[in-house]
Amino acid sequence: MKYSYYPGCTLKNKAKDLDVYARACAEKLGFELEEISEWQCCGGVYPLGSDEIATKLASVRALNEAKEKGQDLLTLCSACHHVLKRVNDDMKHVEDIRTRANNYMQLAEPYQGETKVVHYLEVLRDVVGFDALREKVTHPLTGKKIGAYYGCLVLRPGKILEFDDPENPSVMEDFIRALGAEPVVYPYRNECCGGYISLKEKELSRTMTDRILESASGFGADMLITACPLCRYNLNKSAGSEAVPVYYFTELLAEALGVKEEVSP
Protein backbone atom coordinates (compact mmCIF):
# COMPACT_ATOMS: atom_id res chain seq x y z
CA MET A 1 0.00 0.00 0.00
CA LYS A 2 1.37 3.36 -1.02
CA TYR A 3 0.27 6.68 0.50
CA SER A 4 0.85 10.22 -0.60
CA TYR A 5 2.65 11.75 2.33
CA TYR A 6 2.38 15.34 3.54
CA PRO A 7 5.12 15.89 6.17
CA GLY A 8 4.61 19.61 6.82
CA CYS A 9 7.11 22.30 7.78
CA THR A 10 8.05 21.20 11.30
CA LEU A 11 8.76 17.56 10.42
CA LYS A 12 11.50 18.80 8.10
CA ASN A 13 13.16 20.71 10.89
CA LYS A 14 12.43 20.70 14.64
CA ALA A 15 10.40 17.48 14.57
CA LYS A 16 12.61 15.35 12.35
CA ASP A 17 12.29 12.40 14.71
CA LEU A 18 8.51 12.31 14.25
CA ASP A 19 9.10 11.89 10.52
CA VAL A 20 12.18 9.66 10.39
CA TYR A 21 10.82 7.01 12.75
CA ALA A 22 7.48 7.01 10.96
CA ARG A 23 9.08 6.29 7.59
CA ALA A 24 11.24 3.47 8.95
CA CYS A 25 8.28 1.89 10.75
CA ALA A 26 6.04 2.14 7.69
CA GLU A 27 8.59 0.15 5.73
CA LYS A 28 8.71 -2.45 8.47
CA LEU A 29 4.91 -2.65 8.57
CA GLY A 30 4.50 -2.95 4.82
CA PHE A 31 3.26 0.43 3.67
CA GLU A 32 5.06 3.18 1.85
CA LEU A 33 5.08 6.95 2.30
CA GLU A 34 5.59 8.79 -0.95
CA GLU A 35 6.20 12.45 -0.19
CA ILE A 36 4.20 14.67 -2.50
CA SER A 37 6.38 16.76 -4.74
CA GLU A 38 5.66 20.40 -4.08
CA TRP A 39 3.80 20.62 -0.83
CA GLN A 40 3.47 23.99 0.85
CA CYS A 41 2.92 24.78 4.50
CA CYS A 42 -0.69 24.25 5.60
CA GLY A 43 -0.52 27.36 7.78
CA GLY A 44 -0.65 25.51 11.08
CA VAL A 45 -4.21 26.51 11.95
CA TYR A 46 -7.33 26.03 9.90
CA PRO A 47 -8.64 29.34 8.50
CA LEU A 48 -12.03 29.51 10.21
CA GLY A 49 -13.45 32.46 8.28
CA SER A 50 -15.96 31.29 5.69
CA ASP A 51 -14.64 33.97 3.30
CA GLU A 52 -11.02 32.87 3.55
CA ILE A 53 -9.92 31.18 0.34
CA ALA A 54 -6.25 32.00 -0.31
CA THR A 55 -5.20 30.53 3.04
CA LYS A 56 -6.82 27.21 2.11
CA LEU A 57 -5.12 26.80 -1.28
CA ALA A 58 -1.90 25.17 -0.04
CA SER A 59 -4.05 22.35 1.34
CA VAL A 60 -6.07 22.08 -1.88
CA ARG A 61 -2.86 21.70 -3.90
CA ALA A 62 -1.68 18.84 -1.70
CA LEU A 63 -5.09 17.18 -1.72
CA ASN A 64 -5.29 17.45 -5.49
CA GLU A 65 -1.86 15.95 -6.03
CA ALA A 66 -2.88 12.91 -4.00
CA LYS A 67 -6.07 12.69 -6.02
CA GLU A 68 -4.13 12.71 -9.29
CA LYS A 69 -2.01 9.84 -8.01
CA GLY A 70 -5.08 7.98 -6.82
CA GLN A 71 -3.68 7.72 -3.29
CA ASP A 72 -4.89 8.56 0.20
CA LEU A 73 -3.07 11.52 1.76
CA LEU A 74 -1.27 10.61 4.97
CA THR A 75 -0.22 13.05 7.68
CA LEU A 76 1.59 12.78 11.02
CA CYS A 77 1.48 16.26 12.53
CA SER A 78 -1.80 16.94 14.34
CA ALA A 79 -2.00 20.45 12.91
CA CYS A 80 -1.44 19.45 9.28
CA HIS A 81 -3.93 16.68 9.76
CA HIS A 82 -6.52 19.05 11.17
CA VAL A 83 -6.08 21.66 8.44
CA LEU A 84 -6.02 19.21 5.52
CA LYS A 85 -9.05 17.27 6.74
CA ARG A 86 -11.10 20.41 7.30
CA VAL A 87 -10.19 22.03 4.00
CA ASN A 88 -11.03 18.75 2.32
CA ASP A 89 -14.40 18.77 4.05
CA ASP A 90 -14.98 22.32 2.77
CA MET A 91 -14.08 21.30 -0.78
CA LYS A 92 -16.53 18.46 -0.54
CA HIS A 93 -19.45 20.17 1.19
CA VAL A 94 -19.20 23.97 0.97
CA GLU A 95 -20.13 25.06 -2.52
CA ASP A 96 -18.93 28.64 -2.19
CA ILE A 97 -15.43 27.64 -1.05
CA ARG A 98 -15.21 24.86 -3.63
CA THR A 99 -16.19 27.18 -6.48
CA ARG A 100 -13.89 30.01 -5.51
CA ALA A 101 -10.89 27.78 -4.77
CA ASN A 102 -11.30 26.00 -8.09
CA ASN A 103 -11.72 29.28 -9.96
CA TYR A 104 -8.40 30.30 -8.54
CA MET A 105 -6.60 27.00 -9.04
CA GLN A 106 -7.65 26.41 -12.68
CA LEU A 107 -6.94 22.68 -12.44
CA ALA A 108 -7.42 20.39 -15.40
CA GLU A 109 -10.33 18.89 -13.46
CA PRO A 110 -11.93 20.70 -10.49
CA TYR A 111 -11.06 19.34 -7.06
CA GLN A 112 -14.16 18.35 -5.12
CA GLY A 113 -12.87 16.68 -1.99
CA GLU A 114 -12.18 13.28 -3.58
CA THR A 115 -9.02 12.54 -1.57
CA LYS A 116 -9.18 10.66 1.69
CA VAL A 117 -7.00 12.22 4.41
CA VAL A 118 -5.65 9.73 6.92
CA HIS A 119 -3.51 10.06 10.00
CA TYR A 120 -0.67 7.59 10.54
CA LEU A 121 -2.45 6.32 13.66
CA GLU A 122 -5.59 5.68 11.62
CA VAL A 123 -3.54 3.56 9.22
CA LEU A 124 -2.13 1.59 12.15
CA ARG A 125 -5.65 1.05 13.52
CA ASP A 126 -7.69 0.56 10.35
CA VAL A 127 -5.28 -0.85 7.77
CA VAL A 128 -2.40 -2.56 9.57
CA GLY A 129 -4.55 -3.40 12.61
CA PHE A 130 -3.34 -3.37 16.21
CA ASP A 131 -3.37 -7.18 16.44
CA ALA A 132 -1.07 -7.43 13.42
CA LEU A 133 1.09 -4.65 14.85
CA ARG A 134 1.41 -6.53 18.14
CA GLU A 135 2.74 -9.54 16.24
CA LYS A 136 5.43 -7.46 14.57
CA VAL A 137 6.72 -6.03 17.85
CA THR A 138 10.16 -7.49 18.56
CA HIS A 139 11.08 -5.30 21.55
CA PRO A 140 7.88 -4.95 23.60
CA LEU A 141 7.79 -2.00 25.96
CA THR A 142 6.82 -4.24 28.85
CA GLY A 143 6.29 -2.56 32.20
CA LYS A 144 6.17 0.99 30.84
CA LYS A 145 3.19 3.07 31.89
CA ILE A 146 2.44 5.44 29.06
CA GLY A 147 -0.13 8.23 28.91
CA ALA A 148 -1.55 9.29 25.54
CA TYR A 149 -1.71 13.03 25.06
CA TYR A 150 -4.21 13.72 22.29
CA GLY A 151 -4.56 17.48 22.59
CA CYS A 152 -7.19 19.22 20.48
CA LEU A 153 -6.38 19.18 16.82
CA VAL A 154 -6.63 15.50 15.95
CA LEU A 155 -9.95 15.13 17.79
CA ARG A 156 -12.07 18.24 17.35
CA PRO A 157 -14.46 18.96 15.79
CA GLY A 158 -15.25 15.26 15.88
CA LYS A 159 -17.91 15.42 13.16
CA ILE A 160 -15.36 16.59 10.61
CA LEU A 161 -12.19 14.86 11.75
CA GLU A 162 -13.84 11.49 12.42
CA PHE A 163 -10.57 10.40 13.98
CA ASP A 164 -11.91 8.95 17.22
CA ASP A 165 -14.49 9.69 19.92
CA PRO A 166 -13.58 13.34 20.66
CA GLU A 167 -14.51 13.08 24.36
CA ASN A 168 -13.29 9.59 25.12
CA PRO A 169 -10.72 8.55 22.52
CA SER A 170 -8.98 5.17 22.56
CA VAL A 171 -6.76 4.86 19.48
CA MET A 172 -3.56 5.89 21.25
CA GLU A 173 -4.28 3.67 24.26
CA ASP A 174 -4.83 0.72 21.90
CA PHE A 175 -1.58 1.66 20.18
CA ILE A 176 0.28 1.67 23.52
CA ARG A 177 -1.19 -1.74 24.36
CA ALA A 178 -0.07 -3.13 20.99
CA LEU A 179 3.51 -2.09 21.81
CA GLY A 180 3.35 -4.16 24.98
CA ALA A 181 3.11 -1.23 27.39
CA GLU A 182 0.36 -0.25 29.77
CA PRO A 183 -1.80 2.76 28.80
CA VAL A 184 -2.58 5.30 31.51
CA VAL A 185 -5.93 7.04 31.05
CA TYR A 186 -5.93 10.46 32.74
CA PRO A 187 -8.50 13.27 32.65
CA TYR A 188 -6.43 15.94 30.87
CA ARG A 189 -5.44 13.88 27.84
CA ASN A 190 -7.63 15.89 25.46
CA GLU A 191 -7.26 19.30 27.13
CA CYS A 192 -5.48 22.09 25.26
CA CYS A 193 -1.73 22.69 25.83
CA GLY A 194 -2.16 26.37 24.98
CA GLY A 195 -1.22 25.97 21.32
CA TYR A 196 0.06 29.13 19.67
CA ILE A 197 -0.45 31.24 22.81
CA SER A 198 2.98 30.05 23.95
CA LEU A 199 4.66 32.41 21.49
CA LYS A 200 3.57 35.59 23.27
CA GLU A 201 2.23 34.35 26.59
CA LYS A 202 4.55 31.64 27.77
CA GLU A 203 3.22 31.63 31.33
CA LEU A 204 -0.34 31.00 30.26
CA SER A 205 0.64 27.97 28.26
CA ARG A 206 2.74 26.74 31.15
CA THR A 207 -0.24 26.85 33.52
CA MET A 208 -2.06 24.56 31.12
CA THR A 209 0.80 22.12 30.55
CA ASP A 210 1.52 21.99 34.30
CA ARG A 211 -2.06 20.82 34.81
CA ILE A 212 -1.77 18.21 32.06
CA LEU A 213 1.48 16.74 33.37
CA GLU A 214 0.24 16.81 36.95
CA SER A 215 -2.86 14.93 35.89
CA ALA A 216 -0.80 12.36 33.94
CA SER A 217 1.72 11.75 36.71
CA GLY A 218 -1.05 11.63 39.31
CA PHE A 219 -2.57 8.72 37.42
CA GLY A 220 0.81 6.99 37.31
CA ALA A 221 2.19 7.74 33.84
CA ASP A 222 5.99 7.40 33.40
CA MET A 223 5.90 9.17 30.06
CA LEU A 224 3.55 10.71 27.50
CA ILE A 225 3.24 10.28 23.77
CA THR A 226 1.93 12.83 21.29
CA ALA A 227 1.61 13.35 17.54
CA CYS A 228 1.93 17.13 17.68
CA PRO A 229 5.24 19.06 17.64
CA LEU A 230 3.66 22.13 19.23
CA CYS A 231 2.07 20.10 22.05
CA ARG A 232 5.44 18.50 22.69
CA TYR A 233 7.21 21.84 22.75
CA ASN A 234 4.65 23.31 25.15
CA LEU A 235 4.63 20.26 27.42
CA ASN A 236 8.43 20.29 27.54
CA LYS A 237 8.33 23.84 28.91
CA SER A 238 6.60 22.56 32.03
CA ALA A 239 8.79 21.47 34.94
CA GLY A 240 6.57 18.38 35.10
CA SER A 241 8.19 17.04 31.92
CA GLU A 242 11.35 16.19 33.86
CA ALA A 243 9.50 13.44 35.69
CA VAL A 244 7.18 12.60 32.79
CA PRO A 245 9.10 12.97 29.51
CA VAL A 246 7.16 13.49 26.29
CA TYR A 247 7.90 11.48 23.13
CA TYR A 248 6.51 11.32 19.65
CA PHE A 249 4.47 8.17 19.26
CA THR A 250 6.63 7.15 16.29
CA GLU A 251 9.76 7.00 18.45
CA LEU A 252 8.22 4.37 20.72
CA LEU A 253 6.89 2.52 17.69
CA ALA A 254 10.40 2.42 16.22
CA GLU A 255 11.75 1.17 19.53
CA ALA A 256 9.18 -1.62 19.75
CA LEU A 257 9.76 -2.65 16.14
CA GLY A 258 13.51 -2.71 16.70
CA VAL A 259 14.36 -0.09 14.07
CA LYS A 260 15.11 2.85 16.34
CA GLU A 261 18.90 2.54 16.46
CA GLU A 262 19.41 2.27 12.71
CA VAL A 263 17.48 5.42 11.86
CA SER A 264 18.04 7.65 14.89
CA PRO A 265 18.29 11.22 13.52
Partner: protein, 129 residues
Protein backbone atom coordinates in the same frame (compact mmCIF):
# COMPACT_ATOMS: atom_id res chain seq x y z
CA UNK B 1 -28.18 50.18 9.41
CA UNK B 2 -25.69 51.60 11.91
CA UNK B 3 -22.00 50.85 11.69
CA UNK B 4 -22.24 48.51 14.70
CA UNK B 5 -25.14 46.62 13.10
CA UNK B 6 -23.19 46.27 9.88
CA UNK B 7 -20.15 44.96 11.69
CA UNK B 8 -22.18 42.50 13.75
CA UNK B 9 -23.69 41.27 10.50
CA UNK B 10 -20.18 40.88 9.11
CA UNK B 11 -19.15 38.81 12.12
CA UNK B 12 -22.12 36.53 11.57
CA UNK B 13 -21.24 36.29 7.89
CA UNK B 14 -17.53 35.53 8.33
CA UNK B 15 -18.23 33.02 11.08
CA UNK B 16 -20.92 31.28 9.06
CA UNK B 17 -22.77 30.49 12.29
CA UNK B 18 -26.13 31.53 13.68
CA UNK B 19 -25.91 33.06 17.20
CA UNK B 20 -29.74 33.22 17.36
CA UNK B 21 -29.74 29.50 18.00
CA UNK B 22 -27.95 29.97 21.35
CA UNK B 23 -29.97 28.79 24.35
CA UNK B 24 -27.48 30.14 26.89
CA UNK B 25 -26.59 26.85 28.50
CA UNK B 26 -23.02 28.02 29.20
CA UNK B 27 -21.35 24.80 28.14
CA UNK B 28 -18.91 26.76 25.96
CA UNK B 29 -17.65 28.83 28.86
CA UNK B 30 -17.54 25.81 31.14
CA UNK B 31 -15.34 24.04 28.56
CA UNK B 32 -13.04 26.93 27.72
CA UNK B 33 -9.42 26.46 28.88
CA UNK B 34 -8.90 30.25 28.66
CA UNK B 35 -12.05 31.14 30.64
CA UNK B 36 -10.12 32.78 33.50
CA UNK B 37 -8.21 34.98 31.06
CA UNK B 38 -11.20 36.24 29.10
CA UNK B 39 -12.92 39.54 29.87
CA UNK B 40 -15.88 38.59 27.67
CA UNK B 41 -16.57 34.89 28.23
CA UNK B 42 -17.52 32.64 25.29
CA UNK B 43 -21.25 32.52 26.15
CA UNK B 44 -21.28 36.30 26.63
CA UNK B 45 -19.50 36.72 23.33
CA UNK B 46 -22.48 35.16 21.57
CA UNK B 47 -24.85 37.63 23.29
CA UNK B 48 -22.66 40.59 22.32
CA UNK B 49 -22.88 39.55 18.67
CA UNK B 50 -26.66 39.16 19.00
CA UNK B 51 -26.97 42.66 20.41
CA UNK B 52 -24.58 44.26 17.89
CA UNK B 53 -22.15 45.30 20.62
CA UNK B 54 -19.19 45.12 18.32
CA UNK B 55 -17.01 47.85 19.74
CA UNK B 56 -16.63 46.01 23.04
CA UNK B 57 -15.76 42.84 21.16
CA UNK B 58 -13.12 44.55 19.04
CA UNK B 59 -11.44 45.81 22.21
CA UNK B 60 -11.85 42.57 24.13
CA UNK B 61 -8.72 40.70 25.12
CA UNK B 62 -10.70 37.48 24.65
CA UNK B 63 -9.84 37.74 20.93
CA UNK B 64 -6.23 36.97 21.78
CA UNK B 65 -6.91 34.41 24.50
CA UNK B 66 -8.92 31.98 22.40
CA UNK B 67 -6.70 28.97 21.61
CA UNK B 68 -8.79 27.54 18.77
CA UNK B 69 -8.99 24.28 20.72
CA UNK B 70 -12.58 23.76 19.54
CA UNK B 71 -13.83 22.51 22.91
CA UNK B 72 -16.74 25.00 22.69
CA UNK B 73 -17.43 24.06 19.08
CA UNK B 74 -17.45 20.37 19.93
CA UNK B 75 -19.74 20.69 22.94
CA UNK B 76 -22.26 23.31 21.81
CA UNK B 77 -25.61 21.52 21.78
CA UNK B 78 -27.07 24.13 19.41
CA UNK B 79 -24.18 24.21 16.92
CA UNK B 80 -23.59 27.93 17.49
CA UNK B 81 -19.82 27.42 17.52
CA UNK B 82 -18.70 30.34 19.76
CA UNK B 83 -15.06 29.82 18.72
CA UNK B 84 -15.97 30.72 15.16
CA UNK B 85 -17.66 33.93 16.31
CA UNK B 86 -14.58 34.90 18.31
CA UNK B 87 -12.40 34.20 15.29
CA UNK B 88 -14.64 36.29 13.04
CA UNK B 89 -14.42 39.26 15.43
CA UNK B 90 -10.65 38.82 15.51
CA UNK B 91 -10.63 38.83 11.70
CA UNK B 92 -12.52 42.12 11.68
CA UNK B 93 -9.77 43.64 13.80
CA UNK B 94 -6.67 42.29 12.05
CA UNK B 95 -8.08 43.07 8.61
CA UNK B 96 -7.73 46.75 9.43
CA UNK B 97 -4.45 48.37 8.65
CA UNK B 98 -1.99 48.40 11.53
CA UNK B 99 -4.07 46.18 13.80
CA UNK B 100 -1.83 43.09 13.82
CA UNK B 101 -1.53 41.59 17.29
CA UNK B 102 1.93 40.21 16.48
CA UNK B 103 4.56 42.38 14.83
CA UNK B 104 7.44 40.90 12.86
CA UNK B 105 9.89 42.94 14.94
CA UNK B 106 8.74 41.21 18.10
CA UNK B 107 9.64 37.74 16.87
CA UNK B 108 13.43 37.51 17.41
CA UNK B 109 13.14 37.97 21.17
CA UNK B 110 10.35 35.37 21.39
CA UNK B 111 12.41 32.60 19.80
CA UNK B 112 14.30 29.79 21.48
CA UNK B 113 16.26 26.91 19.94
CA UNK B 114 13.46 24.33 20.37
CA UNK B 115 10.63 26.47 19.07
CA UNK B 116 8.85 24.58 16.27
CA UNK B 117 8.04 26.23 12.94
CA UNK B 118 4.46 25.19 13.54
CA UNK B 119 4.21 27.70 16.37
CA UNK B 120 5.39 30.60 14.24
CA UNK B 121 3.09 29.88 11.31
CA UNK B 122 0.12 29.29 13.61
CA UNK B 123 0.67 32.52 15.52
CA UNK B 124 1.18 34.42 12.28
CA UNK B 125 -2.09 33.18 10.91
CA UNK B 126 -4.07 33.88 14.08
CA UNK B 127 -2.57 37.21 15.08
CA UNK B 128 -2.09 38.90 11.72
CA UNK B 129 -3.87 39.60 8.50
Amino acid sequence: MTKAEKQAELIREISGTDPYKCMKCGKCSASCPSFDEMDIKPHQFVSYVLHDEVEALAESKSLWKCLSCFACVERCPRDVKPGKLIDAARQLVVRQRGQDYLKADEIPQLLDPDLPQQLLVSAYRRYRR
